[in-house]
Symmetry: C2
DNA sequence: AGGGTCGCAGAAATCGATTTCACAATCAAG
DNA sequence: CTTGATTGTGAAATCGATTTCTGCGACCCT
């Protein structure tokens, strides 16, 4: 790795001039040419560590997500990556496992590595952003809210829950259950609320009896579906509030010989790797990639100096018959 | 963000002493206590940028993969994350999209960020590791080989292809086709070779007629399966050489009303998010997470100074009837 | 012709840690 | 009671870039 001093020596100029050439500050054509030639013969690339120490900021964004194995988050990460790269940033991906301790560690690392900004899917509504906010580094939260006043990108969860529930009633199902996520995650409770409103308007049964809380993962969906099937008065359809629980619920239904449309299934979130026939389940397509690109857009604008009050962007889900094909 | 100088001033010692306390070098108990107290009242955490500039190395590993949306790689990333964190490293995840240009950029970034080492799933067998090797930074390649002599972790691909093919013949199928990946990826060709050997021994037909090359993604699997079904003499079973193409093939079969076991399906690689009934397809479970943990283990040993000749570790796949449950 | 402005370029300071070096104090061995 | 080794500590150098400060020369304007 060549340094700026070696380039300067070879070009016969000062290191300051080399720096200026690489940062687009005014340098005479003559010296600029000398520097460029020297840099290319030495295969010089500026040391990012030194640069970011001096500038107190780097061209790296932190993306902190709860579960790297969830296609929802990887699709979002994909959006973040693409847009960030286009804006000249690279992305550090951190996995919290929904553990507030790990989350705190990664936020700390983002600070001490002088990262330009953070895109965070909070592990819970209790996540502590105070130190990173105090540092002045921009933060955008995605998909789940916190108590802090920061830029935020989120899906219209309640309408998503309502529309898929409506679709099931419209299809003729009469007892539509719900598998919801943990109560500390607003995304989950909002979607369940959408379901509850529709049930109260059209169901004619006590919604609480057909609501199960699960852990947002495949095994959670399996357990909740199994419980529902063991109820005295079983449902004839179910709304599942995220993709992984949807997979779990479908597995259990399958094992009981209850494949859709014999049993109504509505899922909020895409199921990119299932092999279901199209059209058999109701599904709300979520704009996951847009979630990522929007977050980067907002973050980059903050990094560029935008000081307006924090904004919240809501992206709509889209009711689709099914989207098993990629 | 407090600096080491502020801590030193508050504790009444020199910055060098503060550094020594945090790096476990001998310091008198008295001063050590003063430093610790000062550090905790100031909430001091050392600036990683400054540290890595001085030490010429950081506690960050680069993980460069072709596709962050592929569950195979995310499971591997998960293994890398867990093990790296246990060893005190954080992980930067980079997505190449199988693009050698992006790959080269990320390798360059890894160098200029002084990262401790690189775990790379090469975009192709042409990947150029010369500059990173010249720099002396350790590299471990995973899953796919290159022309360079570096540590390597890989799956026993040919036996995987052979065993799943054998399983299909044993189950009574007679014309077992194969959907293979691109020829620039050894993983793909090795698995196909395993299939070919078994077909030549037991098939009694020309293997070339039932071999399709596809792009390793869902759409590739779909296209190849569609082609196979359009052949004059159609197969009655298929071996698909990776997970995503397996999903595509199953989708197309499903659309043609040919669900297993009416049509034999063998897949090399897990299908974590499918809702298939267990036992209907033959499947080779791949130790993806182990791939990641093993790579980290090797890399960390290099970082610690291990100078032995490059090693290759082979991990076996495991024939399972199915593994749709997570 | 003298004073002011402007543009370019080098010297030196800076970012915040680690590490070398030098020195003093303590201790063990001869 | 020296001599030599060991230990703890601070001053200063260092990593490699950016940025401020400063000076030089060219140019313009009364």
């Amino acid at each position: 790795m060549a340094t700026i001093y070696q380039v300067a020596a070879l070009a016969g100029v000062s290191p300051a001039t080399v720096s200026r050439v690489f940062n687009g500050r005014p340098v005479s054509d003559e010296k600029s040419k000398l520097v460029r030639e020297a840099a290319s013969t030495l295969a010089f690339t500026p040391n990012r560590t030194a640069r970011s120490l001096r500038k107190q900021s780097s061209e790296v964004l932190a993306l902190i997500i709860p579960d790297i194995e969830n296609p929802f988050f990887t699709a979002m990460a994909r959006g973040v990556e693409d847009r960030a790269q286009a804006a000249g940033f690279s992305v550090v991906l951190c996995n919290t496992d929904d553990d507030p301790g790990k989350e705190a560690t990664y936020l700390q690392i983002a600070l001490s590595e002088n990262m330009a900004g953070v895109i965070l899917v909070p592990a819970s509504d209790q996540s502590d952003l105070s130190s990173i906010i105090a540092s002045g580094r921009p933060v955008v939260t995605v998909d789940r809210t916190t108590a802090f006043d920061v830029d935020h990108v989120m899906i219209e969860n309640e309408p998503a829950g309502a529309s898929v529930t409506t679709a099931l009633f419209d299809a003729g199902f009469e007892r539509v259950a719900c598998i919801a996520g943990p109560e500390t995650v607003v995304t989950a409770t909002d979607r369940a609320r959408g379901w509850r409103h529709v049930v109260e308007a059209r169901g004619g049964y006590d919604s609480e009896l057909l609501l199960k809380i699960a852990n947002y993962r495949v095994d959670g969906g399996r357990a909740a579906m199994a419980e529902l099937l063991a109820e005295a008065e079983t449902p004839d359809a179910v709304v599942v509030t995220n993709n992984l629980m949807g997979v779990g619920a479908l597995q259990v239904l399958n094992e009981h010989g209850l494949t859709p449309p014999a049993f109504g299934v509505g899922v909020i979130g895409d199921l990119p790797f299932t092999t279901l026939s199209p059209g058999l389940i109701s599904l709300v397509h979520l704009p996951t990639r847009d979630l990522g690109t929007t977050a980067v857009k907002m973050l980059v604008s903050r990094i560029a100096g935008n000081r307006e009050p924090a904004r919240t962007v809501l992206l709509p889900g889209e009711l689709a018959v099914a989207s098993v094909h990629t």
